[in-house]
């Protein structure tokens, strides 16, 4: 089933017998697959205390209107990774296990070399933890050695074996989706194939749910993290949420990556929640637990650590004003690559301080936010209507056709299946607008609004909008601005 063509792609719940047959082919793709034992996994989850369950932590945060803190972290070796998570644990609410990039592409041989060379070098040469190579027993040891819920965070188009191993070991949340872990993370993986592989993962989560074990699923919100208009990432999040629900997933966290303009970010977080309830109900689902996650700025950071702290702080404020259930935290070392434990802790502490100070304050209500919410919702409805129409009752098929047609189009994505025709740019207030809509279907007045906003900036800067303006925007935050102005008046001389 690893070469699903569009015609084979259904969006019905995967037949159990199909799942079981496929499972046999998945578990043999690396030798550690033979140790996966679903019944043992269910028992492990049932025996775990609530304090180690993602679904419980999220439900409690939703109820208390708190925002959970989560870092990113992963190193090659089990002992070092366990230590890293335990060192971070006092400073956060839920733990990650970030997976290395070889594993994300199912290159377990190279991941093994990375493990071996890391062992020899005495430091991690991998950018994450390779859970497939460490296998069920390694992952079980990890889960048993920490005291908080752990999520698998990766970027894997075919995460079936990883899901089997990590969920059986006691991980209680699994990030990703057939769109969000393909388009921004791979080059030549057909979308129908990654969607089908994620239907498998979601079906597996559904099997745990059927046994009374709630596993949290989190579509990856920020996508390429680069000038993604909120309606684009929202559309992807909603589609992945619907595809997951269809397979039996019940605990869903939808995500969004900081754009930088406070009003747009707050509006994005508020609209995401409303839109999810709307579409989940529209497709007949009522029995689910929804939460949201805000990712601090995913683009380039200032190299200077003091400046990086302010990017982190602005994100923390937007997350809290936007009502995020969880925030994924960046670090002051962000510009220098994979951060150390100390940098991670600093990012968590800075975020905690800002979230605490903002959570003591009132609801942020502005006309600008309300207008952004209304705009995002109209945009999402317009695109979703076309995706649904293209699918003709098969949403998975609709997604593939939508990407083929450029109806959904993610800026700066590496995947060749992504049209790459839509070009975003910031407006004069730093909100992300559309400079060229490509083939994305949007109402005329919405397009006119984007055009006017971009024209307003072009006039203010005395230049016409162009791709060079977009490039300036991509670099703006790392160059200490929000908007990539030509020769900006420096704040400091």
């Amino acid at each position: 089933m690893s070469d699903t063509s569009l015609n084979d792609l259904s969006d019905t719940k995967l037949d159990y017998s199909v799942y079981v047959r496929e499972r046999d082919t998945v578990l043999v793709t690396w030798h550690t697959g033979r140790d996966v034992d679903f019944a043992r996994g269910v028992a492990r989850h049932r025996d775990m205390p609530d304090s180690k369950k993602f679904s419980v932590a999220l439900a409690k945060a939703e109820h208390d209107q708190r925002t959970l803190l989560q870092p990113r972290a992963g190193v090659a070796l089990l002992r070092e990774h366990t230590k890293l998570l335990n060192d971070l644990s006092p400073y956060c609410d839920v733990l990650p296990t970030t997976v290395d990039a070889y594993t994300r592409h199912n290159r377990y041989e190279e991941a093994q070399q990375g493990i071996d060379r890391s062992r020899a070098a005495g430091k991690s040469l991998l950018n994450g933890f390779p859970p497939v190579n460490h296998g069920v027993s390694g992952c079980e040891q990890l889960v048993d050695s920490v005291s908080k819920p752990i999520q698998v965070r990766h970027g894997t188009p075919d995460a079936r074996l990883m899901a089997e191993i990590t969920l059986a070991s006691g991980f209680s949340s699994f990030e990703g989706g057939g769109i969000s872990y393909n388009i921004p993370y791979s080059k030549n993986v057909p979308l129908s194939r990654s969607i089908r592989h994620w239907q498998y993962c979601d079906r597996l989560v559904g099997l745990y749910e059927a046994e009374g074990v709630s596993i949290n699923r989190e579509p990856f919100g920020p996508l390429t993290g680069t000038l993604v208009p909120p309606f684009i990432s929202h559309t992807v999040a909603l589609l992945e949420g619907l595809l997951a629900l269809r397979q039996g997933v019940r605990c869903i966290t939808l995500g969004y990556g900081q754009a930088g303009n406070l009003a747009q970010d707050v509006a994005a977080m508020r609209s995401l929640r409303r839109l999810a309830h709307h579409y989940f109900a529209l497709f007949g689902y009522g029995d689910y637990a929804l939460s949201t996650v805000f990712h601090q700025w995913m683009g380039g950071f200032p190299e200077n650590e003091a400046k990086a702290y302010s990017v982190i702080a602005l994100g923390a404020a937007a997350a809290k004003f936007g009502g995020a259930t969880k925030i994924i935290v960046k670090t002051p070392h962000e510009a220098s690559g994979v951060p150390t434990m100390e940098a991670n802790r600093a990012g968590l502490q800075a975020t905690e301080q800002m979230i605490n100070m903002v959570s003591d304050q009132g609801y942020l209500a502005t006309n600008e936010i309300d207008q952004e919410v209304a705009l995002i919702e109209r945009e999402v409805h317009s695109v979703m209507a076309r995706v649904i129409q293209l699918g003709q009752g098969n949403l998975a098929r609709g997604v593939v056709l939508a990407f083929e047609a450029g109806v959904v189009d993610i800026p700066f994505a590496p995947a060749t299946v992504n049209a790459g025709l839509m070009t975003p740019v910031r407006d004069n207030n730093g909100a992300i607008r559309i400079f060229d809509q490509g083939n994305i279907p949007l109402p005329d007045d919405v397009i006119a609004l984007h055009r006017d906003k971009v024209a307003e900036r072009a006039t203010a800067e005395g230049r016409s909008a162009s791709f060079s303006m977009v490039v300036d925007d991509v670099r703006a935050i790392s160059a200490s601005r929000l908007v990539g102005r030509p020769n900006p008046l420096p704040q400091s001389l």
Binding site: D100, A101, Y102, R104, H105, R107, E110, Q113, G114, R117, K123, S124, L125, L126, N127, G155, P184, Y185, S186, K187, T224, G225, T226, G299, G300, E303, H333, A335, S336, G337, V338, P339, T340, A343, F412, A413, P414, F467, S468, V471, V474, R475, S478, A479
Partner: protein, 157 residues
Amino acid sequence: MVGEADFRVILGVIGADCHAVGNKIIKSVLEPLGINVVNLGVMVSQDEFIDAAIETGADAILVSSIYGHGEIDCAGFRGRCIERGLPDILLYVGGNLVIGKVDFSDVENLFKTMGFDRVFPPSVDLHVVAALLKTDILQREGRRQEIIDYSDVRRAG
């Protein structure tokens, strides 16, 4: 004055790295500066870089790596170029090349020892890269070095 086609480089993100943003931007900045960029995109192997260089007769290979595996992915690149008959091709590498916050001078030394001609941090000004590329290509070709116009090099990166 040399024409645009005189500077031809292969561009790509090495290994299992799928960071496409910088890649698209590098191309968009270098081309208007008169550099002919053959962009292989993300997830490019050493042999794919070399195949493209042989096929197009490129002067240089620009390797990006953002995800921290650069040290593994770039090991033996110069040796492979020599084996494949490109002993003198310019090799540039840039990005977040190692895991963790390491002094850039250490990273630079490491990659120069590995046979790379120039090593850049992620914050490098691409106008500087373009100017260096042209200088290095001209020097390597034994041509009289042009006077590089650094006036557009001051732009913040």
